[in-house]
Structures are given as structure tokens and as C-alpha cells.
Amino acid sequence: MIEANQIGVRKSGRWILRKAGVKVRAGELVALIGANGAGKSTLLKAVAGEVAPEEGTVSINGQLLADWPAAGLAKVRGVLSQSVQLPFSMPVIDLVEMGRYPYQGQEPGGRIREIARHCLRQVGLSGYEARDICTLSGGEQQRAQLARVLAQVYRDEAAQERFLLLDEPTASQDIAQKQQLLSLLRKLANEAGLGILTILHDLNLAMQYADRVVLLRGGHLLKSGPPEAVLTPEGIAQGFGLKARVVHTPGEAWPHILTCPTAVDLFQNEETSIP
């Protein structure tokens, strides 16, 4: 389990995160949401170990982040930043194989290639192995990077709980790819038992796929819990300063969030009213 408690991060004397925390269990998909500047990325970086918080602690599988050896940590948690730029192009398979760095010298080249192919298949990039990365679309490049991170935490038999930390992985995906990507993450959580913490901007995706949602505002933790409990009109109004409706459609398993520029009453099937 990942546990971040009472995290405080200061930049140039100003607190940009205070008393924020998040828990991610194995097999769980947790969405980190909030307006720009709410501290989502900072919290993710603190959990990833890139930013050392002034207050609070982060532990993974019961061990403080600072006590993890670099390679050991890399084996149990992979991080994908929002945009990763390569200065030189290379075949897609090479990029994915680079993810196996923590296992360097511990497995033969053929095995690394096998794992890389498997991870490319998972992100829907089978057949792209020999393609040059610079010939891929932005969305495909992002998925190739995800495959690299998946290769990093890949294990035949998981000895330890493993986690993925993702910063807005759907950013450059089209609407169909967003659904595919989130259902892949859901599947990785359910079947491979990965604990996933991901920043999401699309509240409907969070509603649809997340087990829990963590809502930040102004560097503070506003609400945390199951999507339907957090993504209420009140929650969205507090977190984003935006009027929204949460609409249940008959036959749909989850409600839809509709944001409104005005208070015009366009929708008949609303369940909750705007505060």
C-alpha cells in the first residue's frame, strides 16, 4: 500500500501543498482531481519521491520512501510524466526495453524483448515494435511510454504490491483512446493487482473507472472517497468553482457529470440539484 500522510510542500516560502494525503491499495484505481494549481502534480511528485516534502511522510509497502534503494523502488512503482520528450528517435521496442533497467544484468535479452512485446500488446501497440517513435502520433507515443513504465514494474509472480503513478495519461488521447486507456488501467488494477494513482481532468472518466477519488483545492485535501460521494455538484462547485449536474441515465451503471456555463435548466432527469 502507498500511504502519503499530512504532506506539506513549500516552494519559495509558499505552501503549495499542506496536510494533503492519499492512500492507494493494491488493485485499486485512485483518481487525483482538482483545478489547475490545486497541487495534484506536486502530491504525485511527493508520492513518486521526486519532491521531498517538508512535512509528512510517504511510505510504500510499509517502508518509508527514503529507506527504499533506488532499484528496489523502481521495481515496485512506475511513474509516467505528462509529456516525455526524446531528443533522438529510436524503435518503439527499444524504448519499452529501457524500462527493464532495474533488472539490468538479471535477465537475458530475449526475456526483456518478450516482456516489452507483452507490454506493447497491453497498450494496443502490437505491430509497432520496429516503428520509429518519431513516426507515431502524440497519443501513440504516450502509450509507448506507458508500455515502458509497465515493463518497469512487470513481474511474473508479484512478490510485492506494485503501483503506477500517472500524470494525466489521457492528455493526448482521443475520446475512444481515453476509454481504452482507462479500461486498460482498470484491467491492470483488477487482474494484475496494480495499485494505480492517476491525475485525471475528465471527471466522467473518474466517475466511470475510479474506485476512489481524491479532490484537492488550493493545496489542501477537500474530499476523498468513492466517486459518487466526491463528484457531487457540491464537490465540483467547491473544487472547481463550477456549476455542474450529476445525471443518472436509466440503464447506465454510473451517472454523468454535466458542467454548465449558466444556471439554465436544460436537463430533466437530474437527480441532484445545483446548490
Partner: protein
């Protein structure tokens, strides 16, 4: 993102390590034959047999001297200088994630220059004791010291609280290089005619001073850091994704930065010290190998070292034969050939985008 060129990828077989090694060995032997005095193969074979296998061939001393004491150390020196410059260039380009990076950017060359010029000017006066003790090696020792000091100054300027910023290092390198240029210029301005001539020749680069002692000093200073660099191949691969991603993947980025910078400084410092300034090898060779072999450092570093050595053997052979019995400074030759080639490569890459 700089693409690799798929149509050249078929060349990768021909630029693979075994092929390059063979070519390098063949070139070394072939270059022995070529010079102001052309020598037949049999005589070269006899000299090598006499020296390496202890055969008694009864050869004239001048011949043995020419082959064994003049040409062979010089050719081997060009192999190590070319290979060293190219592998250091490849590693530094990887670290800076920039195909235009060159070890000169972090101040190695300008530091060597300042100290070498100071060595030329003051070896008799200020550096009296040191100068008389080291003799002709004064300039070499000074250049090596200067390159290391400057690089570590740049590294120190870019570091704070245990973190070294690659971008600051680049900026500090530019500033220190400019400062070095000014100091060199100042000393040049106040030098007399003989000194001026020495300075000019040192700046243009030459492998003419090669001998076995020099080689014995240079080889470990190139080979050991080169091996250390090669062992950082996977780390350098991941640094292509940026420091953050590399750290997330388990790379100790601070350690890799330190190893790459200090090894590159050792190699380039040693090369510049024995040969003066040789332009473009550190820039063009890695670029060429990367286009063909791709950017992964295991093959890139090895390929660059071998190709750099190979090209330098021929460049130096050309330098000492084109206007024989006089010699062209090799620095001029590498820039004269390297720059147009690099431009051609850029145009080629641009078109394939």
C-alpha cells in the same frame, strides 16, 4: 526529435563493431606503409616481426626507427585520440540530450588552451622549476591540468546542495569558454614571434610529437574512462528521457552525471594535451553513428570509439602525406572535412523529416 534514417539502417551491419574493428586494424597496418617515404609491405612485416616476435632480420636502423619509433606510435596515438574524442562526444551528447553538444562546451578545450598557452609563454620564467623538470612535456602537462580544472570549475558552478543542473553546466561552460578565450587572446597578444608560432601550431592540432612514452601515458587515460563510460550505457539511455524519468526508473542520475563529466574531461583533456585542438571528431562521429545505429549507448559508444579511431588514422595519414615533406595541421583537416560533411548530414536529415 531527431529521426534515425531508416534507409541507412541497412548500413548498420557494415558499421557493426566487428567490422569496424577489422577495418581499424587493417587501416593501422596500411597507414604504416604510407608516408613521406613509401615502404613496401615486406619491410613493414620484417620490422614488426623483429620487434614483436624477436626475429633477427638484420634491418637497417633507419628503417626500424622510421616504422617502429615514428610511424607506429603516431598511428596508434591517432587511434586513441580519435576514438577517445568520439566516445567522449557521444557520452556528453547523451547527457545533455543534445546532438550539438561537444566536450568543448563544458570548458575542457578552452581550459586546456589557456594552460597550454601559459605553458608556452612562461615555461622558462614563472614556471621555471616545473618547466626545466618537465622539459618538452610542460605544455602537455599544463594542458591536461587546465582541462581538468576548468571542467571541475564548470561542474562546481552548476552544483548546489548535491544536485548538478545540466542546463546551468552548459551555461557555465559557455561563460568559462569565453573567459578562456579572452585569457588566451590576452596572452597571445603579449607573446613574441616564436611563442606566437608555437601557440598557433598548438591550436591547430598535430599528432607529430607522438612517441611511445606519450602513448603509454595517453592509453590508460583514454581506455579506463572509456570503459567506465561504456558501463553507463543503460543509464545514459534512460537519461535521454530526461533526468526525472531516469530517476523514476532507478538511475542514480547524480552519479551518472559525475561519471560522464569526469570521464569525458579525462579523455578529452588527455587527447587535447597530446594533440592540441582537433575539431569536429567529437561532434560528427557520434552523430553519424547514431543515425545509423540508433541512439542506444551500448552500440553508440562502442561504434563512435571505433569509427573515431578509424577516421583519425586516415585523417592523420592525409595530414602527413598530402603536402609531404611538410605537414598539414590535423585540426585544420578535420574541420575542413568534418564541417561540410556535417552540413550535408543535416540537410539529408532535414529532407527525410
Amino acid at each position: 526529435m531527431i529521426p534515425s534514417l531508416p534507409k541507412y539502417r541497412s548500413l548498420s551491419r557494415w558499421l557493426s563493431a566487428p567490422v569496424l574493428t577489422l577495418l581499424l586494424a587493417a587501416s593501422t597496418l596500411l597507414a604504416l606503409l604510407i608516408g613521406a617515404y613509401s615502404l613496401p609491405v615486406q619491410q613493414i612485416g620484417l620490422v614488426l616481426g623483429e620487434r614483436l616476435l624477436g626475429l633477427e632480420a638484420g634491418l637497417p636502423q633507419t628503417l626500424t626507427y622510421l616504422v617502429w619509433d615514428i610511424r607506429l606510435p603516431r598511428i596508434l596515438l591517432s587511434v586513441f585520440v580519435g576514438g577517445g574524442l568520439a566516445i567522449a562526444g557521444a557520452a556528453v551528447q547523451g547527457l545533455f540530450r543534445n546532438p550539438l553538444a561537444d566536450p568543448a562546451l563544458i570548458g575542457v578545450t578552452s581550459g586546456a588552451m589557456v594552460f597550454a598557452v601559459a605553458g608556452i609563454l612562461f615555461s622558462a620564467s614563472v614556471l621555471g622549476v616545473l618547466g626545466s623538470w618537465l622539459g618538452y612535456a610542460t605544455v602537455t602537462v599544463m594542458a591536461f591540468t587546465g582541462s581538468l580544472l576548468t571542467t571541475f570549475l564548470v561542474y562546481w558552478l552548476a552544483s548546489s546542495k548535491g544536485y548538478t543542473s545540466v542546463v546551468t553546466m552548459l551555461l557555465a561552460g559557455v561563460a568559462i569558454t569565453a573567459l578562456g578565450g579572452a585569457l588566451t587572446g590576452l596572452m597571445t597578444y603579449f607573446s613574441d614571434e616564436d611563442e606566437l608560432r608555437d601557440i598557433t601550431f598548438w591550436t591547430l592540432g598535430s599528432l607529430g610529437g607522438a612517441n611511445w612514452q606519450m602513448l603509454a601515458l595517453l592509453v590508460p587515460l583514454v581506455l579506463l574512462p572509456a570503459i567506465l563510460l561504456w558501463r553507463q550505457s543503460s543509464q545514459l539511455d534512460l537519461l535521454l528521457l530526461g533526468e526525472r524519468e531516469a530517476a523514476y526508473t532507478g538511475v542514480n542520475t547524480q552519479r551518472t552525471k559525475w561519471i560522464v563529466i569526469s570521464c569525458a574531461a579525462l579523455i578529452v583533456g588527455a587527447c587535447v594535451a597530446v594533440s592540441g585542438v582537433i575539431a569536429f571528431v567529437a561532434l560528427v562521429v557520434p552523430h553519424l553513428v547514431r543515425l545509423i545505429q540508433g541512439p542506444r549507448h551500448r552500440s553508440l559508444l562502442l561504434g563512435s570509439a571505433l569509427l573515431g579511431g578509424l577516421l583519425m588514422v586516415w585523417a592523420d595519414t592525409a595530414a602527413r602525406t598530402l603536402i609531404a615533406p611538410a605537414e598539414l595541421p590535423i585540426g585544420i583537416l578535420t574541420a575542413l572535412l568534418g564541417a561540410p560533411f556535417f552540413i550535408w548530414l543535416l540537410l539529408k536529415t532535414k529532407r527525410s523529416l
